[in-house]
């Protein structure tokens, strides 16, 4: 399957043309010259088309779950995790993301659209992508390869000429209207049961935006309550306080608003990298679990749900939410530290099973 097909359906053409109608003619000439140069310069990864001064791009943004630099895989023990240097294995490694954008060095955000993928169980649709970073089914140690494994977000966009892209941005979570819609007939990747099995958060009328669950060796205990312990320490990010109080009960299945939306916007500066690195797959988005639980002990839980499940009064959420850039309690607008852009060659492991949608 060639990459050009998505381009043919590009909805971004009107955008580009509307921004620079008068500069068309001189731009076209320089664009022709520039495209020739770029074609020769490119490593041949992506073809790019010039349309009215904007360059269409297609990105297959790789994500990688890590624990302090080490690739996070199922069935493997990871040491020195959390404030008590615990040893853990993973039980869940999934997240949803939407609203991808490129940010220019002038702060202008360029929208990227998620590609619509074919197949019975696509990992993304045009509204949201599910990143399922578990390499085995259920993240069990001796299970088969996970057919739902997906570590890519495939997006397309148009970058205007002369613009320098300095950051990648996306929002963690499921968009509001989809988050509170029926799950059993939702389009994948939101179908439950389906790709969203275990990612539904029905008690709060929604989905788990991110679920990073670990099994600490020895379990966790409650330092204040000897009778309270468990085997699984969860980080679930989702919208809370979404009561259904619609004034017309015919529409009463959806909340009008949630007290805590909990959809952090993650902006990753390219730094030394450039847009071409994103295009070629030379960089990937790292999700560092060690940073997620930085400051918290995964061997302890002092109250609320085991771990942090976005409870507004759950003590473990104070640190976890700050790490992921979410306001919690009195801490507003913290800076996230869990996501970062790194060169892919360092820890990129394509040990995942064949993904029909992986980049070349």
């Amino acid at each position: 399957m060639t990459r050009s097909t998505p381009h043919a359906t590009a909805p971004f053409i009107p955008e580009a043309s509307s921004s620079k109608p008068s500069a068309l003619k001189p731009v076209v000439l320089s664009a022709v010259v520039a495209s020739a140069a770029m074609l020769s310069a490119c490593g041949g990864a992506d073809s790019s088309t010039e349309i009215d001064g904007a360059r269409t791009i297609a990105l297959s943004i790789p994500f990688a779950a890590q624990v302090d630099g080490e690739a996070a895989t199922c069935g493997t023990e990871f040491q020195s995790v959390g404030a008590d240097a615990s040893t853990v294995t993973f039980a869940d490694l999934r997240l949803y993301a939407h609203d991808f954008k490129l940010v220019t060095d002038e702060g202008i955000a360029i929208d990227l659209t998620l590609d619509t993928l074919s197949g019975d169980s696509p990992a993304q649709n045009d509204r949201v992508v599910q990143l399922d970073l578990r390499d085995t089914v259920g993240c069990e140690s001796d299970a088969d390869a996970n057919p739902n494994f997906n570590n890519r977000a495939q997006v397309s966009g148009a970058v205007p000429e002369g613009v320098t892209v300095s950051a990648l941005r996306f929002t963690l979570g499921v968009p509001f209207d989809l988050n509170h819609a029926s799950q059993s007939d939702a389009a994948e990747p939101l179908r439950n049961p389906g790709r969203a099995s275990g990612a539904g958060w029905n008690w709060q009328n929604g989905y788990k935006f991110a679920s990073f669950d670990v099994m600490p060796v020895g379990g966790w205990t409650d330092p204040a309550n000897a009778g309270r312990s468990g085997s699984r320490w969860n980080v679930h990010v989702g919208s809370t306080g979404c009561p259904v109080t619609a004034s017309e009960l015919e529409n009463g299945t959806e909340p009008e608003t949630c007290t805590n939306e909990n959809r952090p916007v993650i902006t990753l500066a390219l730094g030394a990298f450039e847009l071409e690195d994103l295009e070629s797959g030379a960089v990937h988005v790292v999700i560092d679990y060690a940073k997620l639980v930085d400051g918290a002990s995964v061997a302890q839980d002092e109250g609320g749900a085991p771990g942090c499940m976005s409870g507004p009064t759950d003590p473990e959420c104070e640190g976890v939410f700050a790490n992921v850039g979410l306001s919690w309690g009195g801490n507003t607008a913290p800076t996230q530290s869990v996501f970062m852009l790194e060169a892919a060659s360092q820890t990129m492991s394509e040990s995942s099973p064949e993904s029909a949608f992986a980049a070349e």
Binding site: G138, S184, D185, P193, L249
Partner: protein
């Protein structure tokens, strides 16, 4: 002195007067005015449904979700699925495992156990008149429809109830699809779909069908409804409605719950009440995870607030309250009489009577033992024995050779 006196008077002159009067009133009535009183009522289809709800004429009909209108075929399919233990990870748990018809679809124990042995934090609620509630489960303002609630026992992982997850949902639906009974039932229930059983919406249809069955569980035929109360129950009814006890403050209306909605209700704010059952930290806290509405909203003022259950069939749904921690109706009444519950020892010790979150309506009252018996007699009169034994809600797989 009430009797039908002769309206036509015997005298000419009086009759003449009346005639004049009638002519005058006729003359006075402007064009288009009525001569006789009348009231025209247009209920805008409030009693129209594709389903026979079997509720009394004076009882409003429940709201039906637009994406799942009620039909008899869906009801019957849902009934089969409700009693089908194949819808679980171990093939042993069906909805009926924790919802027994003879107990008005509760289960008689304090807290039920799921397919993997995990104990549910809360008591299994009766499904009586589920269609009439503005939200589902003991205390969750985010669950507005039965369909939304059904996703939890089937697919939830906290706690695991049926245990259907990504590793087994495909096999489970295949066992359903292989059953010939379901071929016919699915086609009847979803005639607008090409292949409701084998197609993409199979699970969605399962959820909608079970939802329809539960929605159809209406119960309005108790001794109370027939007016057939013993003297003790009548005294109990007076107590129930009295200013002293004020049970009717929350347990009001035809469904004995203020969280009741039906087609005639255009707006109902969330109704949750803290009844002073716990106060483990001296500041009104309830033991986790059962903090009620607070668990969903995180709002500290919502600590310990739960939805008012219906009192219909309450006599067969022991033990009581959200965690089944109150064993008998008498104890429930005595908790209210005290204005809350005092737990003297153990990890949940505390005086619920002084909880700052306790609903303001809960004022302690005096009640004698005889009055408690009368009140219990009244509550027992709310049991609809037909509902408990009606073959319509029973297990269709057990009727010999008969797949209804």
């Amino acid at each position: 002195m009430r009797h039908r006196a002769a309206v036509m008077l015997t005298t000419d002159q009086f009759g003449y007067l009346r005639g004049v009067f009638l002519i005058a009133s006729l003359a006075i009535s402007l064009s288009g005015c009525q001569i006789e009183s009348q009231t025209m009522v247009d209920d805008e289809g409030a009693r129209e449904s594709t389903f026979d709800w079997r509720v009394p004429a004076s009882t409003p009909l429940p709201v039906e979700p637009e994406d799942n209108p009620m039909t008899e075929a869906k009801f019957q399919l849902g009934r089969h699925l409700f009693y089908d233990a194949r819808l679980s990870v171990n093939g042993e748990i069906s909805c009926a495992s924790c919802h027994h018809q003879s107990k008005a679809f509760s289960d008689g124990i304090q807290r039920p156990v799921g397919a993997t042995g995990e104990v549910h934090p809360r008591n299994s609620q009766s499904l009586t008149n589920s269609a009439y509630f503005n939200n589902l489960t003991w205390g969750n303002p985010a669950l507005a429809t039965i369909e939304q609630q059904i996703m939890l026992p089937l697919f939830g992982d906290n706690p695991i109830e049926h245990g259907i997850d990504e590793s087994n949902f495909e096999q489970i639906i295949m066992t359903v699809q292989a059953d010939e009974t379901y071929q016919r039932l699915f086609l009847n229930a979803f005639p607008e779909q090409d292949d409701p059983l084998l197609g993409d919406l199979a699970w969605d249809n399962v959820v909608k069908a079970i939802g329809s069955f539960v929605r159809g569980m209406t119960s309005f035929n108790s001794a109370f409804d027939r007016g057939d109360l013993s003297a003790s129950a009548r005294r109990g009814e007076a107590l129930f409605n009295s200013e002293r006890l004020e049970c009717f403050h929350c347990h009001d209306g035809y469904n004995f719950s203020d969280a009741t909605i039906d087609r005639g209700v255009s707006f109902l704010e969330p109704k949750f009440h803290n009844t002073g059952l716990y106060n483990i930290d001296g500041m009104g806290a309830y033991p986790e995870p059962n903090t009620g509405r607070h668990e969903v909203t995180g709002n500290p003022d919502h600590m310990g607030q739960f939805r008012t259950p219906t009192l219909r069939n309450v006599a067969v749904t022991a033990p009581y309250n959200h965690d089944g921690s109150v064993a008998t109706l008498e104890e429930v009444i005595r908790n209210y009489a005290a204005g809350g519950r005092v737990i003297t020892s153990g990890e949940n010790a505390g005086d619920g009577r002084v909880s700052p979150f306790k609903d303001g309506v809960l004022v302690p009252f005096q009640i004698t033992d005889a009055e408690v018996d009368d009140l219990v007699a009244f509550l027992e009169s709310l049991t609809d024995h037909d509902f408990l034994a009606d073959p319509r809600f029973s297990n269709p797989w057990e009727s010999t050779g008969e797949n209804l």
